[in-house]
Amino acid sequence: MKSWVPIAVIAGIILLFAIWIGGAYNSLVVDRVGVQTAQAQVETQLQRRFDLIPNLEASVKGAQIQEQKVFKDIAQARTHYAGTAPQSADRVQAANQYESAIGRLLVVVESYPQLQSNQAIQDLMTQLEGTENRISVARQRYNETDQLYMQHLQTFPGNIIAGMFHFLPLPLFQSTPGAETAPKVNFNQ
């Protein structure tokens, strides 16, 4: 028995272990990049909505509609949204607040016949609808990639690697409570 044999065997085991760890680490990184890309997609579409609303708002105002409360809420939600960092919990909350303010603006558009016959406003509504659909698709894809990432994060060997290299769990998009009921406008205000 030569003396280098056990050393070679140990070295081989260490090497295999390193390759295995490396592979697991890489696949976690790939997962995380996927989630971040999906997250960026959501941000892009949220920004698109953000840019679109002032046009719609201006058109509604331009048609001499007086709904001060709605306009004020939108302005507030927009300021709040603009002040949050992407990917933060605040951002999600701000986006939801913005969403409900937009919902009320849409009710306003619904309730004035002169707005419904306005082609420019109808086109803006179409764009808004398209954006909302893209947001929901982007969120859905985010959730799908995130689900995979979270699975790998919580199962072996991902859970060990995650602890060693600080892979943090990324939250799924949740629907806001009360979102399933249509927003209402109080015309007395």
Partner: protein, 248 residues
């Protein structure tokens, strides 16, 4: 018009629910025209299919037309994105596919625009195709007219030329007309053949010439056979929710 609100509200929780509630089964495609609800005559379905195939051949853009009875339990937006994820209409990398979905019993339609065509067919343009062209025909029960005119309008919008679709029908019967050989060139070909055959018999290197001749002939045959087939398949086009919906 009430739909705006309904659609908007449904978006709030659509993103969450769809991940778990994908209970619909989605049909496989049968071609460019998939008339599962049987509103098109055989003739007009075949004609539209040829037109879309030709459009695909010329521009690589792929348009699929689908009629179904209903998209329930999903909204047409959910159904649309799931169907496009399954069919992958459009070329990989170009993402230049469009799916026109008509849910006949739901009285709802949607034009789902692939990522690569979102700039050519904007949401607003796709909406106008539906409200101005398809919807009036559908309201009178003229599904065939509505679908045909709608497809033409989509083609026209993509090409920035509303008459482009007409050129597709005009050239359709004469698609790939046999190349007319003039008398001179036929005579020349025959002479060339005779020379090659004579050379192959009387010279040592003639066999090579004969071989080249056959491989050229064989090659052109192969090209003819292989041309159309690949293009009939949808090939990996991506969608991200572009387009718009309408009802009638």
């Amino acid at each position: 018009m009430k739909r705006f609100i309904v659609v908007f509200v449904s978006f709030f929780f659509l993103s969450i629910s769809t991940a778990f509630a994908a209970t619909n089964s989605y049909p496989d495609y049968t071609g460019f025209v998939n008339d599962f609800s049987h509103v098109l005559s055989m003739d007009s379905a075949a004609q539209l299919d040829r037109k879309l195939a030709l459009f695909n051949q010329k521009t690589t853009n792929q348009i699929a037309v689908v009629t179904v009875d209903t998209t329930q339990p999903e909204t047409i937006e959910e159904y649309g994105i799931h169907l496009s994820d399954k069919w992958k209409v459009g070329q990989k990398g170009k993402d230049n596919g469009i799916i026109m979905i008509f849910a006949i019993k739901d009285h709802q339609m949607r034009i789902e625009v692939g990522r690569g065509l979102e700039g050519d067919v904007t949401d607003v343009q796709s909406k106008h195709i539906q409200t101005d062209i398809i919807e009036p025909a559908f309201k009178q029960g003229h599904y065939e007219t509505g679908i045909n005119d709608g497809a033409n309008a989509v083609i026209g919008t993509i090409m920035h030329d509303q008459n482009y679709a007409k050129s597709l029908t005009a050239t359709n019967p004469a698609q790939a007309p046999p190349q007319q050989l003039s008398g001179v060139s036929i005579l020349f070909l025959i002479l060339l053949l005779i020379v090659i055959v004579l050379l192959s018999i009387f010279t040592p290197f003639g066999g090579i010439l004969l071989w080249i001749l056959f491989s050229v002939l064989g090659g052109s045959n192969e090209r003819d056979n292989g041309g159309g087939g690949e293009n009939d398949k949808f090939g990996g086009g991506g969608f991200s929710g572009g387009g718009s919906s309408d009802n009638w």
